[in-house]
């Protein structure tokens, strides 16, 4: 059976979930962004302990269907950026409609209702997080990143980076040279 977890955004989140499950000796089949596959259903006390353990990492067990759908939308968007060349091959709205049996308007309404913001904002904000990762962990140039993430130009990337973060990419890179600088918000 599947259980759904809110706020998983990266490998560290998956490792955190794994650590909680193993600490509680809960067997699992697989851990993916946003969900865990379990061979058997959880007992109520296991569910409570799991929820408590996840909270420690600012992760949350979800039961509400709208929350689950919203989280799945987020994971689908995040997975777009996981494989180079996959980003924005299709219209975002089309891609989401291909993944879920709902109209884009319905998905958009549920997302906005649950998250308090739009799918589009999440998409752009997450893409900028990916820009930061590529700058820092793969040391790509802005030109290379703009090509990889399908920005229309370097200027477009820089402009959007500043809109979302308040900094230019160059300023951000300089700040990150300071090891104490915390650059990522793991939501």
């Amino acid at each position: 059976m599947l259980i759904y977890i809110k706020n998983m955004v990266c490998l560290r989140c998956k490792m955190a979930v794994q650590s909680v499950l193993e600490g509680l000796r809960i067997e699992y089949t697989s851990i993916e962004l946003g969900r865990v596959n379990l061979p058997t259903a959880l007992l109520p006390e296991q569910q409570d302990k799991l929820a408590e353990g996840l909270q420690h990492y600012q992760l949350e067990l979800m039961e509400n269907k709208k929350q689950i759908l919203t989280e799945q939308i987020k994971v689908t968007i995040m997975e777009l950026f996981a494989t180079p060349g996959q980003e924005m091959l299709l219209k975002l709205s089309e891609h989401l409609c291909n993944q879920f049996p709902y109209d884009y308007t319905y998905l958009s309404n549920i997302f906005s209702e649950t998250e308090g913001t739009t799918i589009e904002r999440f998409y752009i904000t997450y893409r900028i997080e990916r820009v930061k990762e590529l700058m820092l962990y793969e040391s790509l140039t802005i030109k290379e990143i703009s090509y990889r993430l399908n920005f229309s130009s370097v200027a477009h990337l820089s402009h959007q980076f500043k809109k979302v973060t308040g900094q230019t990419p160059a300023t951000f890179r300089k700040l990150c040279a300071n090891e104490d600088f915390v650059w990522r918000t793991c939501e």
Binding site: M88, L90, K91, L92, S93, D103, Y104, T105, Y106, S108, N109, S112, T117, T118, E120, R121, Y123, I124, N150, S152, H156, H159, Q160, K163
Partner: protein, 139 residues
Amino acid sequence: MMKDNLRLLIVDDDPDDRELFMEAVREVDESIECFTAKNGLQALETLRDQSQQLPDLIFLDISMPLLNGRKCLTEIKADRRLQQIPVVVYTTSKDVEEARELKKMGAFHFMSKPRDADEIYYIVAVVLEEFRLAAGAKE
């Protein structure tokens, strides 16, 4: 080859909303030329003026006096010279059925009017990317 400077027509009876959209578009890409119309009738007059260059994309409010967005969309899609222009329709409604119907009428995208100027930026940014993607695919 896709030309560099896009032309975008914003059709909305609310002057504040027209200004918000124009600001959002300028923020996304200052090279885009924006022009506006106050209602569907004025939009069609502008579009049918053969001395004017056609826009590459239209943002169309559904609720307007003097020819609403729905009728304007119908007219655009019935006109051979205008029908290929992608039209993004927006409305305060979040009605899924209405969205489905407008997409069937030929709308490129349907969006609920965002609550604030910041949200308009993000929606416009994604719509423009989708438009560029679609335009690039046709070449």
